[in-house]
């Protein structure tokens, strides 16, 4: 087995074992996983050359759908909450998508932002339904009817989420290699030719858009259950920006980059906030600047070039 495969595998094993060695890491890793799934949605759209500054919308739609279901059925059940969350983001993704896929680049980005901020305002203002700025509590749900204590529930959420994320990442990876996934990439390079192949560029982008909304939704409902509370902040533009930030950090256009980026971001955010409460955002800012200037392919790209240098050395007689 080559080094290229060994290192990611070791990293995966380390992450799987970390909650056993250090139980405190469980929740941070679960949050990173949830964000990684949402970032994957951004990565899908980046393949088509489009950046959305409003994808927190789907994150929030799903989270609130799960929260409502939980409140309606005394605590709720985990699987159904995730399903309803994903279904809600899919429906809203389709509706918003039908409108925004008519636009490209800055207009696409800003329209998404507008939709997410409309939803943010609704969450804030419809106090009697959504709890306003205080948000809604999400009680720990049962799992297939079994009530669980906090610790085993968090363990289940992390490992279940991990398996789900691996399956989803593989699915997205396959999608991007499919004819449809490749057609979506051509929206970035030559939409005219795509139309002259008899394919609707809008429908192609819509397929990618709905997929990206679904991924953000999956991340959103896992986040809601993990945090135990949903607030309008879930839909706020800073959250959308964060998703784009992580996508660039991890490596725009790379499936693994979404999760690597989310992991690094979440760890830095959690611990930097503790040690450098006032300026941790500045540290992240400089970090991103460095990535954009010196490693435009993100952390995954950085890893790639380090490995390439290493392999070249090995090849030498």
């Amino acid at each position: 087995m080559t080094l290229r495969r060994v290192v990611p595998l070791l990293l995966l094993v380390l992450i799987v074992l970390l909650p056993v060695i250090a139980p405190w890491s469980k929740i941070v890793l679960t949050l990173a996983l949830a964000k990684g799934l949402a970032v994957l949605g951004i990565v899908v759209l980046l393949q088509a050359g489009q950046v959305s500054f409003g994808h927190a919308l789907f994150f929030a739609v799903s989270a609130y759908a799960a929260a409502f279901l939980g409140q309606a059925f005394a605590g709720g059940e985990l699987i159904s909450m995730l399903l309803i969350g994903v279904a809600a983001s899919l429906v809203i993704g389709l509706l918003v998508g039908l409108f925004v896929v008519r636009y490209r680049y800055i207009f696409f980005g800003m329209l998404n932002l507008a939709f997410s901020m409309i939803f943010y305002s609704i969450l804030e203002k419809f106090y009697y339904l959504t709890g306003g700025a205080d948000g809604m509590q999400v009680a720990r749900p049962s799992v297939l009817g079994i009530e669980m204590e906090r610790d085993p529930f968090e363990t289940l959420l992390f490992y279940g989420g991990m398996v789900l994320a691996i399956l989803v990442a593989y699915g997205v990876h396959r999608f991007l290699q499919s004819p449809l996934g490749n057609m979506m990439k051509t929206i970035k390079t030559n939409e005219t030719r795509l139309e002259y192949l008899g394919v609707s560029a809008r429908s192609t982008l819509l397929a990618g858009y709905v997929l990206s909304a679904l991924l953000c939704g999956l991340g959103g409902s896992i986040m809601a259950v993990a945090q135990g509370i949903v607030t309008p902040e879930y839909a706020y533009w800073i959250r959308s920006g964060e998703l784009v930030f992580i996508a660039i950090l991890g490596g725009a256009g790379s499936v693994s980059g979404a999760f690597v980026g989310a992991l690094v971001y979440e760890v830095v955010r959690t611990y930097a906030a503790a040690f450098a409460a006032d300026y941790w955002q500045m540290i992240l800012g400089f970090f991103l600047l460095g990535i954009i200037l010196y490693a435009s392919r993100g952390l995954v790209g950085l890893y790639d070039s380090v490995l390439q240098r290493f392999e070249r050395k090995e090849d030498r007689p």
Partner: protein, 251 residues
């Protein structure tokens, strides 16, 4: 190749861009199996005609029929689906894909391969596309990104992408521009053979009269948005008006 059926028919096409008349009562029939060359000075409306036929430009008045079916106000996408493919003066390719991938995407579009878990690299049409790439002499660059390739090869791949759709009619805008003059005839030989093999009728805008003479079955002379003359290459290229107005300019 069977000939006779009227593939494309234009009736009374009119369009103006500001003061420029790009189509002024254009009437023409394109029969299956008879490759048509369109010649004429720059700005005569040759490309506009292709744009109207493929739905990129809507005429102010007039009609376009493809195999008896009105397509005048249809989108490029719909017209492509009916069997009209197009190659461009400036090759329109997917820059971040390889030459072979460009063709595979075209084949997937033709076959409507929407299964998200199927791999583009292993669709059943792959062998067919490799043959097509071989037909236009580009199999040695199959795995190269198209924007790394010289213009001549990009041009051929652009045409191959159009052929991958298995059209009935192929509209080409100056297929040999950008190709080194020493290679033009070689390229056209390859092309005409590929067209015949795929049973595709071609319409091509061309400035090189040698090419027109050798490869066209019929020639139409465009000038100021109108078709001045139509006929066989021998008739047209000997015509005094053409020698004076079209060929004269080329020299």
């Amino acid at each position: 190749m069977s000939s006779g059926e009227i593939l494309l028919e234009a009736k009374g096409l009119e369009i103006h861009f500001g003061g420029v008349v790009a189509a002024d009562n254009v009437n023409i029939q394109i029969a299956e199996g008879r490759n048509l060359a369109i010649i004429g000075p720059n700005g005569a409306g040759k490309t506009t005609f292709l744009n109207i036929c493929t739905g990129y430009v809507k005429p102010a008045s007039g009609h376009v029929y493809f195999r008896g079916r009105e397509v005048t106000r249809r989108s490029p996408r719909e017209i492509t689906r009916l069997g009209v493919a197009r190659a461009f003066q400036i090759p329109q390719l997917f820059a971040e894909h390889t030459a072979l991938e460009n063709l595979l995407i075209a084949a997937s579009a033709r076959q409507r391969r929407w299964n998200p878990f199927e791999r583009l690299s292993s669709i059943p049409e792959r062998a067919e596309m490799e043959r097509l790439l071989d037909l236009v002499n580009c199999s040695d660059v199959a795995d190269r990104l198209v924007n790394e390739l010289p213009e001549g090869q990009r041009k051929l791949i652009d045409i191959a992408v159009a052929l991958a759709l298995k059209p009935k009619l192929l509209l080409m805008d100056e297929p040999t521009s950008g190709v080194a003059s020493s290679e033009k005839y070689g390229v056209m030989d390859i092309l005409v053979q590929a067209l015949a093999e795929a049973e595709v009728t071609a319409v091509f805008v061309e400035h090189d009269m040698g090419i027109v003479e050798k490869y066209a079955d019929k020639v139409a002379v465009w000038s100021a948005g109108q078709i001045q003359l139509e006929g066989t290459p021998a008739e047209i290229l000997e015509h005094p008006d053409v020698i004076e107005n079209v060929i004269g300019e080329e020299v």
